[in-house]
């Protein structure tokens, strides 16, 4: 058991982070096809889904999807990231593992146009029902 990384037994490449400086304990970047299996492993460890969001790295031509998890019983905040191409932002949904992901993924789709494959209802969540724009993309103009 690693003192800095209580999830060291999982095959997820976690890095221990200084909580006081960053506000979370573990950070990992995984390929987009592994977000579902990572979610399933964290689910088994008893973690809860905090939120899902995106970051548009336009200069690098990438979209980052950030999954936040917290542990309901101990101080353990886990951040899982993945990068997908900005011109074809697609990755699988984790709502089968965490049903709470349903709304967070819809919101991320609203704001960034990221498509969560296998999501049954990727319709506008916070934006108007006929919205065909994604306001948090860095090239969005009104």
């Amino acid at each position: 058991m690693n003192a800095d990384n209580p999830l060291a037994h999982l095959p997820i490449p976690f890095q221990a982070v200084d909580y006081a400086a960053k506000g979370y304990h573990l950070d990992a970047t995984v390929p987009p096809d592994q977000v579902v299996s990572a979610a399933a492993q964290l689910d088994k460890e008893g973690l809860a889904l905090d939120t899902i969001t995106g970051v548009d790295w336009m200069a690098q031509g990438q979209m980052e999807v950030v999954y936040d998890y917290f542990h309901p019983a101990k101080a353990l905040r886990v951040v899982l990231r993945t990068r997908i191409p900005r011109d074809n932002p697609e990755l699988p949904t984790i709502r089968k593992v965490f049903p709470g992901a349903d709304w967070h993924e819809r919101e991320t789709h609203d704001f960034f146009g990221i498509r969560f494959l296998g999501h049954p209802n990727l319709t506008p969540f916070l934006l108007p029902e006929d919205a065909n724009y994604h306001p948090l993309r860095k090239d969005f103009t009104t």
Binding site: G23, T53, A73, F98
Partner: protein
């Protein structure tokens, strides 16, 4: 309103017709306390499926975060959950202070705790009054607003606002508290304790209320975890999850208080958790006033133009409705690259569709009220 086209009739195996129909609860409805719409497929009085429809007061707060400086975004943080403005500002300034490595003076942290806990009580009082109003009792609202008024007067005197305080600043506070505030807060604690006892005998022990809430809308520990429900919702399911204890921040480690939990997971459990939280908040405020350190309330040398080192920074606080987290992604400029607001009401409401399945409509409204929703907190 009944949507005619969606009325469906089927014949059940024993030959009786079974008819479902759709009703819209809201977006303007007295029981939703804000513009929330719930599309309900009903089988008589029973809910087949209740799907919340959000976004009616969406303001794109996160986009606003990307086109103004950190200090300029500060007023927005009071307008997300307008009943819990102190804690929300705390989450945002906390994230900025963490990134900028600012040392907040101890006196400022103590005053943050005092004002946040007063704000928690005033928020719970609004919930209490409004929830009982949903259940058909008008009088408690008048008592609740009477007590809440005293808190608003206290906070108004030091912040200048009654609701959207923006009292915390990056590195400290807008101004110091005075003797009048300290005396007024002590008087309030002395008045509030017997009032909470009266609330118990007047409302909590009332048999009609108990029949409306006990065993209604049970939410399991696991459902909370899968949906990320926090605050009184998860604590009403027996999980002692509270950011103030689990990820301690500000001056909270210096106070003695307990995290109330109730195992039952029903609407009564969530009710009891909030009632006990007000008692605990009074305890925290009293201790903070007793131990209040002297000194400045603003960190030295907070740059006028603040640029955060590149990277991402999170800061979570325990708001009245649960875990509120701010994630700031900085690229080193004076304007944030990304501001993410993780709000508790969104996650708490997201379990409603699963939890309300098969419930009677009036019971589902009791469940919804027990979640203590603030709609701008969902829509942002």
């Amino acid at each position: 309103m009944i949507v005619k086209e969606q009325v469906k009739t089927e014949i059940t195996p024993d030959g009786a017709p079974r008819e479902t129909f759709v009703i819209n609860l809201g977006p303007q409805h007295p029981a939703t306390h804000g513009v929330l719409r719930v599309k309900m497929v009903m089988d008589g009085e029973y809910i087949v499926r209740a799907e919340p429809v959000c976004g009616y007061i969406h303001r794109m707060q996160e986009k606003m975060g990307e086109n103004r400086t950190y200090a300029q975004f500060l007023p927005n943080t009071s307008r997300i959950d307008y009943l819990s403005a102190m804690t929300y500002t705390h989450g945002f300034v906390g994230a900025v202070e963490r990134a900028a490595k600012l040392q907040v003076p101890p006196r400022a942290e103590y005053i943050r705790v005092i004002t946040s806990e007063l704000n928690r009580i005033s928020s719970h009082l609004v919930w209490w009054g409004a929830f009982l109003l949903d259940l058909g009792g008008f009088t408690p609202l008048l008592y609740a607003f009477d007590d809440r008024e005293k808190i608003l007067d206290l906070l108004e005197a030091i912040t200048g606002s009654r609701l959207t305080y923006s009292y915390y600043r990056i590195g400290g506070l807008y101004n110091d508290i005075d003797d009048q505030f300290i005396k007024g807060t002590r008087d309030f604690i002395a008045q509030m304790r017997p009032r909470l006892k009266m609330y118990k005998s007047l409302v909590t022990d009332n048999i009609i209320l108990r029949k409306r809430l006990i065993d209604i809308g049970p939410i399991s520990k696991d459902m909370c975890r899968k949906y990320g429900a926090t605050g009184p919702v998860i604590r009403g399911s027996g999980v002692p999850y509270d950011v103030r204890k689990i990820e301690p921040y500000s001056a909270y480690p210096e106070f003695d208080f307990v995290i109330p939990t109730v195992e039952d997971g029903d609407s009564m459990a969530r009710y009891l958790v909030r009632m006990e939280e007000m008692v605990q908040s009074l305890r925290i405020i009293e201790q903070a006033l007793d131990k209040l350190p002297a000194g400045p309330v603003m960190a030295e040398k907070v740059p006028r133009v603040l640029k955060l080192p590149a990277g991402d920074y999170c800061y979570a606080v325990e708001a009245a409705r649960g875990r509120f987290m701010v994630r700031i992604v900085s690229d080193g400029k004076e304007i944030p690259y990304r501001v993410k607001l993780r709000t508790p009401s969104l996650s708490n409401l997201s379990l409603f569709e699963e939890a309300s399945e098969g419930m009677l409509l009036p019971d589902a409204l009791a469940l919804m009220g027990s979640l203590d929703l603030v709609i701008p907190d969902i829509d942002r």
